[in-house]
């Protein structure tokens, strides 16, 4: 008996003891022995890095990327900001000026900035760029090896600060390889890599950095990385914009959304990459110090990425554009917006993200055409476009959260988007019947007599909002009598997407620069030459495996004009019109990211009032924040 009593007490004591010591620890805060006021803590959406000690980003996929490595320690020739940029959308980083192409786009000359140094004191020169290209071509398993070997015939440093690329074939967009949207080809430190015998097996730990920060400390379990501001930060490209304020950057894996919200409420996480809308609302309500892109609703930052319902147009059922249109007309975008983003979505009827510079180049100018657009249901012609959907969503929301909802139409268009397709079951019925489907009982039958079954592949946990959108669409189709189901492809989505192993897919095949009107970034890959045969892997991004002669022509024309050529806008609008007529994917909304920033220790985050960059912390552009942030008090 005594034995048993003593056991119990010992057990309880140990628990209480532990709890005790933990109490004192919470007071001590999230990071031991770092000055909190000089530290910016950001979420790394990559989560926990399996291979924590690996910093050689040029080896494919061996370590973390957005653990601060590409935001703070790496650099390349140019950046294009998805928003307005520190001093314009186009940013010459390591390059001193824009790329200089020859007449037929077979040669690109780059002038480099001077006085830029690696963190180990070695100066950055053309030799590094040349080595980067040469090495990637030499080691065919490096990350950008293929892209470079395909394009580059020869590269040479004509002067210490001038490089000339000779291209194998004309390419007016070659510089894009060295231009950061999210990332780009990062420049390697020649003096480091030329010493190692196999650059593919080299972990590059501790990394010699070209950015303003150097690695300070990292978790061998890959949960956190801490970077320290270089003493010679002036000798980096970021330094040109002034001294970065945070002395330390901590990129951490705060865990699932709830934990992120809690962490920020405890002021232990300055920048949340993304949370579910409800988490966002909670922070907006309960954490006075939290701010987001939009001051009020819908808060989120719209990434230049266009989530859409992607058809596998190689499936017989979805070969007919009438079927695709029918399914589009069965979607009530308002419900989808509510289910996915609780209304905090920026909708788009056309295949271009309604963000950055795009509305002024595309969405705005195309409104009239859209309103006039006619669709032949086989029985009659209808005008499916409703220019006021954005307005309707705003009004719908105003009832519950009036003060937060803008009233100015421009603001509404910016926040909620412009128009979308009217939900029109009648027209959908006609379209389906036109292409041989028929309703039996309360279920639809495909022409082959089988029930009309549609599976919508979603990514589950990995992308909650998209999963919610997909589930809502499924529900709407099911109500109409289609045998629709969600198919959660958590983990398998990537493989299935490239293998074309799906009916329809909640994903995106449209990504743009955001700040720049050029569409080749995604559109070039939509050319019929790249469409893979059924069953074989499809290269990104034309997941719908769709092609169209008119589109091919557009793409080829774009290839032969300059990056900034205004004619590009015209061609872009042509693409939009073709895509609307054909409906290869049902564009829904921009990818809104609920990036939440805590102003307890730092102010001056990028917002819609001061859109100097994208706050989403895994984008390499987000480095612009570091120079604009101000410590509070």
């Amino acid at each position: 008996m005594r034995l048993y009593i003593s056991c119990i007490t010992a057990f309880l004591c140990s628990l209480i003891g532990m709890a005790g010591l933990s109490r004192e620890s919470v007071a001590q805060g999230a990071l031991a022995n770092l000055p909190r006021r000089e530290t910016l803590i950001l979420e790394n959406p990559e989560g926990t890095i399996k291979n924590a000690g690996w910093f050689n980003i040029w080896a494919i996929n061996a370590g973390g990327q957005s653990n601060g490595l590409q935001q703070a320690a790496l650099d390349t020739l140019w950046y294009i900001d998805p928003d307005r940029g520190l001093d314009g959308v186009w940013q010459n980083s390591l390059a001193a000026e824009k790329p200089i192409y020859n007449a037929d786009f077979t040669e690109m000359t780059v002038k480099l900035r001077r006085g830029i140094y690696w963190s180990d004191g070695v100066e950055f020169t053309a030799a590094d760029v040349v080595y980067t290209v040469a090495a990637q071509i030499k080691y065919k398993n490096m990350r950008w090896s293929a892209a470079l070997s395909l394009n580059v015939d020869a590269v040479e440093a004509t002067e210490p600060y001038t490089i000339v690329f000779k291209l194998k074939k004309p390419n007016s967009r070659f510089h894009a390889l060295f231009t950061v949207r999210w990332n780009a080809i990062w420049i390697m430190p020649k003096h480091v890599f030329e010493k190692v015998e196999d650059p593919l097996k080299f972990d590059f730990n501790k990394p010699v950095s070209l950015g303003a920060y150097v690695l300070h400390n990292y978790d061998p379990n890959g949960r956190w990385y801490i970077w320290h501001l270089r003493d010679d930060w002036q000798r980096t490209t970021l330094g040109a914009y002034g001294k970065p304020s945070p002395t330390y950057l901590a990129y951490v894996d705060p865990g699932p959304p709830e934990k992120r919200v809690i962490a920020q409420m405890n002021h232990e996480l300055d920048v949340i990459h993304d949370v579910a809308p409800e988490g966002m609302f909670t922070l907006a309500k309960q954490s006075k110090s939290s701010v987001a892109w939009f001051k009020g609703f819908p808060y989120a930052h719209p990434d230049p990425t266009l989530p859409a319902l992607i058809f596998n147009t190689q499936n017989d059922v979805f070969k007919s554009k009438d079927v695709r249109w029918a399914l589009a007309l069965l979607i009530d975008i308002k419900a989808v917006s509510m289910a996915s983003y609780r209304g905090a979505a920026t909708i788009s009827a056309i295949g271009i993200p309604p963000t950055g510079a795009h509305p002024e180049f595309y969405h705005g100018p195309l409104q009239d055409w859209l309103s006039a657009f006619e669709l032949d249901t086989g029985k009659r012609k209808i005008k499916p476009y409703d220019a006021t959907v954005g307005q309707q969503i705003a009004n719908m929301l105003r009832s519950s959260m009036d003060d937060q909802i803008p009233t100015d139409p421009k603001a509404i268009a910016a926040a909620f988007g412009m128009g979308w397709w009217k939900s029109d079951p009648q027209a959908a019925t006609e379209l389906l019947e036109k292409s041989g489907f028929k309703k039996v009982g309360n279920g639809w039958q495909a022409p082959d007599g089988k029930p009309f079954a549609v599976r919508v592949v979603v990514e589950g946990e990995a992308r909650p909002v998209m999963t919610r959108a997909g589930s809502m669409i499924v529900e709407q189709w099911r109500r109409f009598g289609i045998d629709a189901k969600v198919d959660v492809a958590q983990g398998t989505l990537v493989t299935r997407r490239s293998a074309g192993d799906f009916d329809t897919l909640m994903s995106w095949s449209v990504e743009t620069w955001g700040g720049h009107q050029d569409l080749s970034y995604f559109l070039d890959s939509w050319h019929s030459q790249f469409v893979a045969a059924p069953g074989t892997p499809q290269p990104p991004r034309n997941w719908q495996r769709w092609s169209h002669p008119d589109l091919d022509r557009v793409i080829e024309e774009i290839r032969n004009i300059g990056f900034d050529d205004p004619k590009g806008i015209e061609l872009g609008r042509e693409y939009v019109k073709i895509a609307v007529r054909e409906m290869p994917t049902i564009p829904l909304m921009s990818y809104n990211v609920f990036t939440v920033m805590d102003t307890t220790y730092w102010t001056g985050y990028p917002t819609s009032q001061d859109p100097y960059t994208d706050p989403v912390p895994n984008w390499a552009n987000s480095r612009a924040m570091f120079v604009r942030l101000k410590p509070r008090g």
């Binding site: 933990s22 926990t48 399996k50 080896a59 061998p220």
Partner: protein, 334 residues
């Protein structure tokens, strides 16, 4: 002695059989995964990057060669066993070229440290209390423990973990709710580091023990409740043998036997349990590694982890089997 040689040989044979069947099973299953590691890598590279379709086609080919996925299935299978023989699981595909063995070596201490300890602790404590509760059936304090156990034990582990997380993470934020240790702490035998580890392990450990302990407690209690009525216990009582001696040498001694088998089995749960524990508490370890490997279609890693766990568990079972006859003479004549 002759018996032991025979017995040992049998058990060893069985052990090997289990390991080989198990590994083959997982080999087949893991290779049936529809996830293509090459596509995963390419997606990781292209999801944000700007890469032309031709480039991807090229990359795909070279990656296949790099990951050694070009050979036929038979060839790959042979390679696999060749590697196992040399205790080398080759490179991980999802974090190429880092060797699988290195990744596991990093993760294993965390898993063992947390789960094995928790399991053993709750086993010992649960059986002690359970035994006492079964023998002294009218002790009020033990009745209370019983009620507690009945309330806690049946609750699914995930729920318990979630509840603890909510209680001590959100409602009453006392304890860290993710990670193995605090930020910016240098690993090493420093008090700060050890303290931080302890602190981070409380919630996961507690969750494991709450569930485990109840099970052992109730199990032991019911076994003892039966043993108490065995003739040899009654007889010993009639012979006026002291209660404590009866409890120790007659009741506990005999009741523990099934529980010992139980322990060996529940050690098997360590590697499964690790997954959920590490998911919920963001705790580092083999489970987290395994899941991420499954996601990445990283056969190498999945196989590595499962193989290690299979060998680990069956070794535990083997040891128990070898010790068992020392504890239960009856088995020796089987």
């Amino acid at each position: 002695m002759r018996f032991y040689v025979k017995y040992f040989a049998q058990r060893l044979f069985q052990f090997l059989l289990v390991v080989i069947i198990g590994i083959n099973l997982t080999y087949v299953i893991t290779h049936a995964t529809p996830i293509d590691p090459v596509e995963q890598s390419i997606a990781a590279v292209t999801s944000f990057g700007n890469t032309s379709p031709e480039a991807i086609a090229m990359m795909r080919q070279s990656l296949r060669e790099l990951y050694g996925l070009t050979g036929g299935p038979a060839e790959q299978y042979l390679n696999f066993w060749r590697r196992i023989a040399t205790a080398d699981f080759g490179p991980s595909l999802s974090v190429f070229p880092t060797p699988v063995s290195l990744l596991i070596a990093r993760a294993l201490p965390w898993t063992i440290g947390l789960l094995a300890t928790a399991t053993l602790l709750s086993w010992a404590l649960g059986n002690l209390l359970g035994g006492l509760a079964g023998y002294y059936q009218d002790r009020r304090s033990l009745k209370f423990v019983a009620i507690l156990a009945m309330g806690l034990h049946p609750v699914p582990y995930y729920i318990v973990a979630l509840a603890l997380l909510v209680m001590f993470g959100y409602v009453w934020p006392l304890l860290p709710i993710s990670g193995g240790f605090g930020m910016n702490i240098e690993p090493g035998l420093t008090p700060t580091f050890v303290l931080s580890i302890l602190k981070h392990s409380i919630l996961p450990a507690l969750s494991l023990m709450l569930v485990g302990l109840g099970g052992w407690f109730l199990g032991m209690r019911s076994v003892v409740a039966n043993v108490v009525n065995e003739d040899y216990v009654v007889y010993a009582e009639l012979a006026g043998v002291g209660r404590r001696r009866i409890l120790r040498s007659y009741v506990m001694r005999n009741a523990l036997l099934p529980q010992i088998t139980g322990l060996a089995l529940s050690l098997g749960a360590v590697f499964n349990g690790a997954i959920i524990t590490e998911q919920v508490f963001g705790y580092p370890g083999v489970g987290a590694l395994l899941i991420s490997a499954v996601y990445a279609g990283d056969y190498g890693l999945v196989l590595g982890v499962t193989t290690i766990s299979i060998i680990g568990v069956s070794t535990a079972v083997l040891i128990i089997d070898l010790v068992y006859p020392l504890l239960d003479p009856r088995v020796r004549t089987v």
